[in-house]
Structures are given as C-alpha cells and as structure tokens.
C-alpha cells in the first residue's frame, strides 16, 4: 500500500472531486524522492544548446560529469556545447578558494577553444568558499575580449525555476550587443525551443514558409552573435514558458518587444502557434501562407494519425513532465489518438497552469505537482494507465509495471515538435503500446485480468 505523505496531500487533486486549487511552487519535501533536479539544472538546460559558447562548471566534478552531452540539442555548426568543462575543485581549493583555478581554467579553455562567449556556472559550494566569480569573469572578459558571464546557479538556492531565471539573466547580458547588422522587418525570436533532435529547424522552416524571419533562437542551435542582435526582433515567441517567460518579460520592459506564449507540440497547438505569429504581423500574405502551410501539413499527417488512432482508441495515459505547458499540449495531442489522460503532473507548474489543466482534463483525472516515484506508480495503477509520458527517470516505473512509455524529456533523440513531430509522437506511442512484449509482463497480465473481471461484473449487473 502506498501512502501519500501528509505534507504532500495538497499537491494532489482529482478533477471533479475537489473544487479548490492545488498547492505548488514549493520546495520539495526532504526525503520525498522528488523527480526534480536543482537550480543548476535549470540554468544548465536553458543555456546548454548555445553551441559556440564555452560552458564552464565551477565546482567539484559531479555537476559537470552528469550533464556531459546529455541533451539532444543539435547544432548546425560548432559543437562546443557537447564537451564538458569543469574546474573540478578539490579539497585544497575548498579550503583556500577556487578563484585561481577558475581564472586559469577559463584562460586556458578560451585560448584553446576560442569561444564567442563563456558561461561560468557557480555550483553549490562556490559562494560558501568565498569565490568572487564575478570578479574573475570580469578580469578574463577584459583580457580575452569576449563576454564572460557568471551564472548564479548554486543548487540549493531555490528550485529548477530559479535556475531558469539565472539563465535568463545570463542570456540578457548577451542581448543588445549588436545594433549594426542588417535585420529583416518581420523578425521574431524563438524562445524556449532547444533544438532537441532538430526541432528548432522544423519550426524555423515553418516560419520561413510563412515569410517570417527568425532573428535568433534561444537557445536551440544557439549562437552568441544571434543572441546579441535579438533585441531588434519584432516579436518574442515563447515556448517552454516556465523557462523563458522571464526573459521575454525583461525584453519587453527593456526593448518593448511584445511576446506570445505558444507550444509546438500537437496539431492544434502547432497551428495555433503559427497563426498567433501570423496574426501578430497582420500581413495578408503571411496569413495566406500560414493557412496554406497548416492545411497542407494537417492534410499530410492526418491520415496517418487516424491509422494510429484505430489501434490506440480507448487507452489511458499518465503524463509527468518538467513544465506544465508541455502537459497541456500532450493532453490535447493524445486526444487525437483517442487516448484519455488519467494522470498528469509536472515538476514546476504554477497555480494558473494547474487550473488550466483542470479545465482541459476529463473528470477523474489526477493532477499532481512535484510527484515522486511512489506516487506516480500509485496513480498509474489506480487509474489503470496504459502509457506513461515522461523522462528517463520515470521510464523504469512504467516498464517495471508493464506500462508503455514515451520519452518527452530533453534527452530524447526523436523530434516531437511541429506537424512532423506529431507523427513521430504517434509512432513512439504506438510502438510502445502495441508491442507484443507486454503480454509477458506479470503486472500487465494482472491489470488485464482485473479489467476483464471488472467488465464481467458490470455486464452481470
């Protein structure tokens, strides 16, 4: 029997049963085995795809080694982001300070790799041992003539969301450097897409077809120079709103660039995103091209989606992802496949997000904030989920219980964004749910038997 800890009960609700809102945006409960990571993780995932920058992790070795080449963030050019650099602090630096090593590391790395900028991530103990990271960064910036930017990402100073904010602050320091290069009129910045498996390229191609120019991508296939001119774009289009809305708001305040929150997952949300941008520019040609694009793409993929739906109709899904904006899209995308969402949760959702989830989910759906493996398995069993959508940490929970799985986390190597991504998503879900291997799983067998039994009883009644 799995019990939910008292302190966590308010972070769980079932739609239709409870009228109040969910508790969220809290620090994880000690000992609860949260699926969240830390402030550093938030900063690292956002800045990671900037491929021509040096990413130096200042601290003992762990933080660097666990984040070496883990994202599926592709680059069309340099691949400096795929290497892992750390000051690898040892006992003597913990005692005497790490500034000297930081200075030497930055200097040698910049001289070796000639990056366009450097990010220095401060991890847990950096402040505690008294390192003045800003001072070292300023000195090296001057000597090497590139921006060297500290990222204040000490793991314990909040949650992953605070890490997003620290990353946005670091990005903001790169923005506004280039006022000279010529720019198109209908230019946007893509925020919050990380080019996992080439997703930014899919989205950029849509905008190209619509006649919209992309000034910068933050941070998918990102380049320092692009970011430097991004303040001259006409619109910020923000996906993964949890991570990048802060930057969009800062740019709105500073440079008067409006922003729109969008998602590129699923058919409606991708179409909505493109229409939102087209409508913003209110150019008849752009609108027409957008309509054509959406129509063509939907026509292209719809027959295939329908074929998948025939196999998947009536299945039930559990969703547990980092940001809740992605969860919204997934609930909708699954409907196209005839799959009902029975459990949905996120690591970093806010009250508004969860209220919206409540609205779009069917009655009897469990909504959970900052869940742990025990809770996830409990809800999956109770709600008889056939599929879990999550990341690598959630995968074994599903597989051990004979439940299909779709990886929608930042390690994935399959593009799931846009219309093409919807098709990949269908394939992923279909391949897992329809696999013949489940019949060998004892848990799957048990679930089937119980479901048959329940059905038998209801017929008997």
């Amino acid at each position: 029997m799995i019990e939910i800890l008292d302190e966590r009960k308010k972070q769980v609700l079932e739609t239709g049963k409870e009228s109040g809102g969910i508790a969220c945006e809290k620090a994880s409960l000690a000992g609860s085995v949260s699926q969240r990571a830390c402030v550093f993780c938030g900063s690292r995932v956002v800045l990671y795809p900037i491929a021509d920058a040096l990413h130096l992790i200042h601290g003992p070795v762990g933080c660097a080694v666990y984040t070496w080449d883990i994202r599926g963030a592709l680059s069309s050019g340099p691949e400096l982001h795929r290497l892992s650099f750390t000051t690898d602090l040892r006992e003597e630096e913990v005692i005497y300070g790490g500034e000297k090593k930081l200075y030497a590391s930055l200097t040698e790395l910049i001289e070796t790799y000639r990056p366009k900028a450097a990010f220095v991530y401060a991890t847990c103990i950096v402040g505690l041992i008294g390192d003045d990271v800003q001072a070292v960064c300023s000195r090296v910036a001057k000597e090497q003539s590139i921006p060297v930017i500290p990222v204040h990402s000490e793991g314990f100073k909040g949650t992953k969301k605070d890490g997003y904010k620290a990353a946005c602050e670091a990005l903001f320091r790169l923005i506004g450097k280039d006022d000279a290069s010529p720019l198109p009129e209908l230019g946007i910045n893509i925020l919050g897409d990380f080019n996992l498996a080439g997703e930014t390229w899919i989205i950029k191609e849509y905008y190209r077809q619509m006649g919209i120019d992309v000034v910068s991508c933050m941070t998918g296939d990102g380049r320092v120079a692009q970011i430097g001119r991004s303040h001259r774009a006409a619109l910020n289009v923000v996906q993964c709103s949890g991570s990048m809305t802060y930057l969009a708001k800062t740019m709105e305040d500073t440079y008067a660039i409006p922003f729109k929150r969008v998602s590129y997952f699923g058919i409606e949300d991708t179409a909505d995103a493109l229409y939102t941008v087209a409508r913003h520019f209110n150019d008849p040609d752009v609108l027409r091209r957008t309509e054509e694009l959406v129509r063509d793409e939907v026509n292209r993929i719809y027959p295939a989606v329908e074929r998948f739906r025939q196999d998947l109709e009536g299945k039930r899904a559990a969703i547990y992802v980092g940001g809740s904006f992605k969860a919204f899209s997934l609930v909708k995308a699954l409907r196209h496949l005839g799959i009902r969402t029975v459990v949905v949760g996120s690591q970093t959702g806010n009250r508004e997000d969860y209220d919206y989830l409540k609205e779009i989910c069917d009655e009897g759906t469990i909504i959970v904030d900052d869940a742990n493996p025990l809770e996830l398995s409990k809800f999956m069993i109770e709600k008889q989920a056939d599929l879990l959508i999550g990341g690598v940490k959630e995968r074994p929970i599903a597989y051990k219980m004979g439940v299909a799985f779709c990886d929608h986390n930042h390690e994935r190597k399959v593009a799931l964004a846009g219309f093409a991504g919807m098709l990949n998503f269908c394939r992923e879900v279909h391949a897992s749910i329809m696999s013949p291997v489940w019949r060998f799983s004892p848990a799957y067998h048990k679930r089937k038997k119980e479901a048959d039994h329940e059905r038998g009883e209801s017929i008997a009644v």
Binding site: A27, A30, A37, G59, Y66, K446
Partner: protein
C-alpha cells in the same frame, strides 16, 4: 598565463590542462548510492541539494535501466546557513514512513561537508528524539565530491556499512567477499562461483537483483534483493574477507576495519579478470575452503586457454587504450598484457598517486616505456595522448565513444556506465567465463575493424 602554467606544474604529469575536460570519473555520492542499493531494503539518502540525487538517479538508471529511488535532504538557503539537521531528520522520517526500509544509507555531498554539517551528531539526536518508535538502521558515509571519485564514495559507504552493522564474535568459518564496483552479472557469477565451493559467504554489496531485477507483478517500493542486514552483522565473525581491487591494500577499507575491529583476516586481490587474475582468486578460495577447483571451472579455464591460443595472432602487439576505475583498469591491463596486447594508455580519473605502480607491477610482457599511465585523467587529455599512441582499440565505458569515433578505432564497451547500448548491467567481466567473453569481444572487434577497413572484405577470416 603564469597562473595557468603554475597550476599545471602542480598537477600530475599526465594532466595537460588545469580544467577537467570530459571527466573520466564520477562523484563520490554516486558510488555510495550504488553500495546502499546493494543492501537489502536499504534506501540511499543524499544529504545536499535535490539535484545531486536526481542527477545520480538519472545516470544510474540510464545504465541499469532499473528504478533506483535515491532520496535527498533537499537543502535550501537556510539549511546552507544554519545547517541541514532539520532537513536530514525530516528526510529520515519521510523515508521511514514511505518506504519502511530496513536501513537508510546517508551519503554527504560537497555542500553539507563544506558547511561542516555534523551528520553524526544529527543521527545521535535523531535516535534520541525518535526512541519511542522503531527506526531503520542508519548508515552514514562521508562522501564529499571534492575528494576522490565515485570509488572513494563506494569504499567509504562499504566501510561505513560495516562499521555501523558488523559485530564480532566466535568465528563462523564463512568468507566475506567485497567484490568492488562490478556489473550485476559479475555479482551473480561471483556468487555462483563461491556457492560452487560449498562455503558459506556474504557478498557486500549485492545489487545483482536490486539493479537488474525481473519484471514485476506488483509495485516494489524498493526492488527486492541485496545483502541482508543480518548477514552484514555476521561479517565480523567470518574467517576472512576477500576484497577485490589491487589498489585497496593500503587504504582504510571495510576489510581493513573488519581485520582491526573483529580480527577477520583481510586478503586483497586484483579483480579476477584474465587467467592470472582469476587463478589468484580461485587459489584464495581453494585455500580458505579446503576444496579444490570444481571441475566446471577447471573446464572453463581450459577452454579459455584454448581460445587464447586460437586468437593470439589477432591480438598480438595491438595497442589498447583502457580507462575507468583504477582497480578495473589495473585488472584489464594485466589481462591485455597476458594475451600479448599492449595496454598503451591506462587512464583513470582517480588521483591516488599509486595507480602507476599498481598497474606496472602486474605487467609481465609489456615494456614499461610502451605503457603510459594517466592518473587524474580526462578524455580530452587522453585524446591528445592518443594522437601519438595511435591505438588499435579503445576499451572502456560509453564515455569513450568520443575517443573511438575521433580515432576511428573500435570501442569495446566494458565497465560503467554503458549509456549507448542495452545490457551494460549484464556484461560479464570476471573469472574465466567473463574473461572468455571479453577475449572474444576484443578479438572480434579487431577482426571487424580489419574487415570493415578492407577493400576486399573477406567473409572468411
């Protein structure tokens, strides 16, 4: 530049850079977590930021493809200032409520160690405060990630476990086996071998089931398996302890503690890889048990000798790069040496100052001038060295794929982590049977490279 130069001079000869670039080591709490999951019904608790446990979980899950719940005391800013005692106690309470574990294994981090948290005191207080309730056994290992690698964490956790649990008393004539950080398949094989001698034994840790278990019928809060606490208590009454890891003889290990505190003789052997390495292991058991080599293993040995002869020409003089944990590298180097290969570069992220001697003292055929040993190594430094060495093959974990790809030579995947293939936990490295598999894989990899690189492409080699 002077600071860079000065710092480089302080380092071991094998380091060409101050910073660590693509680290060849993991941090200490990871090793400790592995040990704690090798104890029956024990849950690891990392005393630090939430990210430490989540990153380590993801890293371990990606190799074993199994659930591993690792809790965190989830430091906040106030715990970093006022100490993490309250968080630790909350975590102990919540873990006990949720998991009802037999033991909780606490591993500290750079954060809790740097602020000087007195975990021993917290545990004492906790035991006093909670004396009316039954609480799990609490094990505490000091594992700051600025000190050593994951192997220091592994051995610190082993020693802490023994110190916390083992009891002395009249000798029961059993053997303790401390196998080191080997695969789940290795652990199963070592148990089979010892069982074949009909002698009572306790192996610690034993994650052969907990981290490579069956598919489930019901959810398991903590995967079944692991060394039972009761058996660990009796380790102080064993006849002898065999610890596998050539470099361990001079370190404060669990075996050393058992010898000092309980009078259990400690025998240090290299990991049983290769014929000589395995012979030494079997000789030790034969002596302790008074039972001769079982016919089954005599046959395995015989077949291995036969295979060595069949394949000797394909491997003779081939230069290999081998990297990973120091003891693993030492055993692999001795194996390569005995089949006529040259362990041209032996690299480890560990910086103990003893690795070179440990490795070289076990080579019989290779000339020392043809063998480079890198301590405190990283993969970028190894790649540089390889430009001159021109190796024929790379042998080690997935993180060396980068090397193999750049050098255009095959990678034979062994050790931990295997993140780019399935079944890393089922690779057998040890004893005659494991050596047989390694030998076949190495010969075949070289054959394949020759075949692929040949214009003719014979199917008959």
């Amino acid at each position: 530049m002077n600071v860079v130069k000065a710092l480089r001079c302080d380092q071991s000869e094998s380091r060409s850079s101050v910073s660590t670039q693509n680290a060849c080591k993991l941090c200490a709490p990871l090793g400790a977590s592995i040990v704690f999951r090798g104890i029956e019904n024990c849950v690891p608790l990392i005393h630090g930021s939430q990210g430490c446990s989540t990153y380590i979980r993801r890293y371990v899950i990606s190799h074993f493809r199994e659930p591993i719940d690792i809790a965190s005391s989830n430091f906040s800013e106030s715990s970093a200032i006022f100490g993490g005692g309250d968080n630790l106690k909350t975590a102990l309470d919540n873990l006990t409520r949720q998991y009802a574990p037999a033991a909780i294994g606490i591993a500290t981090t750079c954060l809790s160690e740097t602020i000087g948290d007195d975990v021993r005191l917290y545990i004492e207080q906790y035991r006093k405060e909670r004396k009316t309730r039954s609480i799990p056994s609490i094990i505490h290992a000091s594992t700051p990630s600025y000190s050593g690698t994951h192997m220091e964490g592994f051995h610190a956790a082993l020693r802490a476990t023994i110190e916390a649990l083992a009891e002395g008393g009249a000798c029961e004539g059993t053997i303790n086996l401390l196998p080191g950080f080997v695969s789940a398949e290795d652990l199963r094989h070592l148990k089979e071998v010892l069982s074949g001698f009909g002698i009572g034994f306790t192996m610690l840790p034993d994650y052969s089931e907990t981290l490579d278990g069956e598919s489930w019928a019901d959810y398991q809060k903590l995967s079944a398996g692991g060394t039972p606490i009761q058996s660990i208590r009796r380790m102080g009454r064993a006849l002898a302890t065999i610890q596998l890891g050539r470099g361990l003889g001079t370190v404060r290990t669990a075996a050393a503690y058992l010898e000092e505190a309980c009078g259990v003789r400690a025998v240090t052997l290299g990991l049983p890889i290769g014929i000589r390495g395995t012979d030494a292991f079997f000789d030790a058991i034969t002596q302790m048990s008074g039972i001769g080599l079982p016919a089954k293993y005599a046959k395995e040995r015989g077949r291995l000798v036969d295979a060595y002869i069949d394949g000797h020409k394909y491997v003779f003089g081939k230069r290999a790069v081998i990297y990973g944990e120091a003891d693993f590298v030492a055993a692999m180097a001795a194996f390569l040496d005995e089949i006529g290969m040259v362990p041209a570069l032996c690299a480890t992220g560990a910086a103990t100052g003893r690795v070179r001697e440990t490795i070289l003292s076990n080579l019989e055929h290779s000339r020392p001038e043809n063998v480079q040993v890198f301590e405190d190594a990283d993969f970028v430094g190894m790649l540089e060295a390889c430009r001159a060495i021109q190796p024929d093959i790379v042998i080690g974990n997935s993180k060396g794929y980068f090397l193999s790809r750049k050098l255009g030579v095959p990678l034979v995947r062994v050790g931990f982590p295997i993140h780019d293939r399935i079944g890393g936990q089922r690779i057998l490295h040890t004893c005659y049977r494991g050596t047989q598999q390694l030998f076949d894989r190495i010969v075949n990899a070289l054959m394949e490279a020759g075949q692929e690189g040949s214009e003719v492409g014979y199917s008959y080699i």
